[in-house]
Amino acid sequence: MTIDLTQFHESFYEESFEAIASMEDALLQLRIGMPDPATVNTIFRVAHSIKGGAATFGFNEITSFTHTLETLLDELRAQRMQVSQQISDLLLKSVDVLRDMLRAQQYGKPADAQAVVDLQFDLELVVAQKGPAPSAVLPRWRIEFRPFLQLLSRGNDPLRMFCELAELGDLAVTSDVSAIPPLAEMDPENCYIHWTLELQTAAPREAIAQAFDWAEGDCELSIEPLEPVSVSVATNVVPPALQAAPAPVAAESAATVVAIESAAPPAAPHPVEQAVKSAGAAGGYSSSIRVSIEKIDELMNNVGELVITQSMLSQIGNAFHGPQGERLRAGLMQLERSVRELQESVMRVRMVPISFVFSRFPRMVRDLSQRLGKSVELKMTGGETEFDKTVLEKIGDPLVHLVRNGIDHGIETRQVRLARGKPETGTLHLHAYHRGGNITVEVSEDGAGLKREKILAKAKSKNLVAPDVELTDAQVNELIFLPGFSTADQATDVSGRGVGMDVVRRNIEELGGTVEIRSEEGKGSRFIINLPLTLAIVDGQIISVDGERYIVPLTAIVESQQLRPGMIQPVVGHGEVLSFRGEYLPVLRLPEVFGCGAGARDNSGLVMVVEGDGRRVGICVDELMEQQQVVVKALETNYQRVDGVAGATILGDGSVALILDIAGLSRRPVDRVAA
């Protein structure tokens, strides 16, 4: 029987991309010159599983490349080599190349073969050149471990000790089983075996002795140095025949592992269970399943319909009288509760921690700061804060812009920082947290801050501001959000071309969020992004205008007032202004703006002052109705975008109501003046 393997390709790619991401994470944790076997092991495992998968599907280039990568990682794992800047760079590059290869394979495009070959050669060269590294002539230790009978009953486990030793270096274990009595006389809780261990390690004697700390008093122990065995360097320096070299190394490490396991005492408690446990902890298994977003959206839609049906039933239920009606209403109440809980659960399914977005920054910051010759430390807090997936997908790009700007424009070079009496290393801080029903993400750095005079001068030179206008600091800061604005003296390939901040603001506003700046010259800047928890649900105020019902997002409402004579004044031509707390605001009459039935202007209703995009306008309203959470539906699904409308929703009675796009509406009058 043949199995069509292509059906598994998609999940292989998905898993591999995830694996590569975790590999990158782990790589960034590696510190130069600091041995970190656990992290190296994680990286090794990831590379290994990609290799395995690729081999299964016959993706030979990927298999061959990961194999080379594995060889280097194995050297690091066995501490025969140290992590240097060069190796760290190479490994990160490998991650990129591997990702490209996978992507190329996925879309059936040819990969950049030259890059692969070059990198593969570099990797091999590094392994070959490890040469007389300090690890080549590590001291060897001979450990005689003669436990007393009661060792096991005191809660000691020789296997665990040996595993600990094995982490220090190459370990070979031989066991002396001569003392084991015949089965009939054997007490299974006693330890009858003696061991002789040979360990090659850079670790001091104390570190070795530490492994036996707990067994003190329960064993005889001697740790003696052996003559150091010098590894023949000559054989290793010869560049290896491309694929041959790794094999013996892998075999060697495998042999070590086997040696340890076979040497495990028969009485060792549950070695298998232990192995499973450690693998589980290291592999990061979690009890989750992969579900496509369409399925969740479908679920959301179904729940949305359920909510509508439920509120429809509630309205009908209120019309029933007598004991039967009472019982019906009790049942409906229960239904309402269950439906609400169901809705919240489904909403939670869509929530994803922001760490998914944050995870790209360590690498980006590292590369950028290296390229710009700056020293930047990245701090990330609140990565567990959960966002709706739709919000998350769209917040990535604006954040990348802000981080990039922060490093390029904000944080100064080492020399400048030292001259200004600041620590040499700049700090870039990403911070996410919940605030009320919103989520806030802050991007702050302790760099140069916004230069008020420079911004103002630039704005005036570009005629963005009239030359004789006095602006507050906040207003000056706002200027950087104008399209085409950049104060960088020179446009680099990183930033400074003047596209960016306006896009950042627009993207965030499309998400129904806001962005503000706090900046102090010389001390740094802080960008504060406020976002709604979800795009799928809006807290809205239902209003009635000219027989139509509209939804105004609660966040946009400043206040509503009963109209009194004289509040609305006609101005030149057809326009009107509202005098509101000393300000004059433009007035919107929805029937006129929307071009659906313009009746006589009626000043007997209410005026609702709303704010969007930093501008306030008054909207004439006939009646304020209830407030309600509404599920947002896109008009584009079956129709198209409509200016001034953010979407539609379905009300309790089953009818459709439009959700007003306050930011879009408040922009309109200005546009009309401009036109």
């Binding site: 139509e548 703006v593 929307f594 539906k633 008009l635 699904t637 409509v642 379905i650 459709v656 439009l658």
Partner: protein, 171 residues
Amino acid sequence: MSDALAANRPVHDAANVDTEQYLTFQLAEQEYGIDILRVQEIKGWDKPTRIPRSPPHVLGVINLRGAVVPVIDLRTRFGLEPPVYGTTTVVIVVRVQSEERELTAGIVVDAVCEVCNVTQQELHPPPDVAGGLDQDFVKGLAMVDERMLILLRVDRLINASVLEGAAAQAA
């Protein structure tokens, strides 16, 4: 019904590849047909919610079990006398292919009639009639039971009606 036609019927019903099924409806004394495979359901008439700055033939949007669906008035679209919404007025919900997506829309008609089989032989290309119907929307004419059916290209009709709104808005 003539004997000849009655005798013809079973031939059409057999799995004849040339036969297409059309849902026919009434619109200002004339019978039209649309491909039945495009029809999702038929709904009773309910006043839709108006959409800002939409062309006159787009009456608004309705709630179709949770989906927000635009409703197009065919009388207005075809420039016929203004509709009177009565008890037989229905909304035929159709699902059509647009360039990059699938669209669901409702069309308001005076009444639905029946489901007809039309063979390739019965289908005649639309004659060049000056004015009136946009030729682009007419697939052909067919005589069924001595009545003339105007068969519509519902994909083009819906796409144009919905997209025209965009053009009107941009202008």
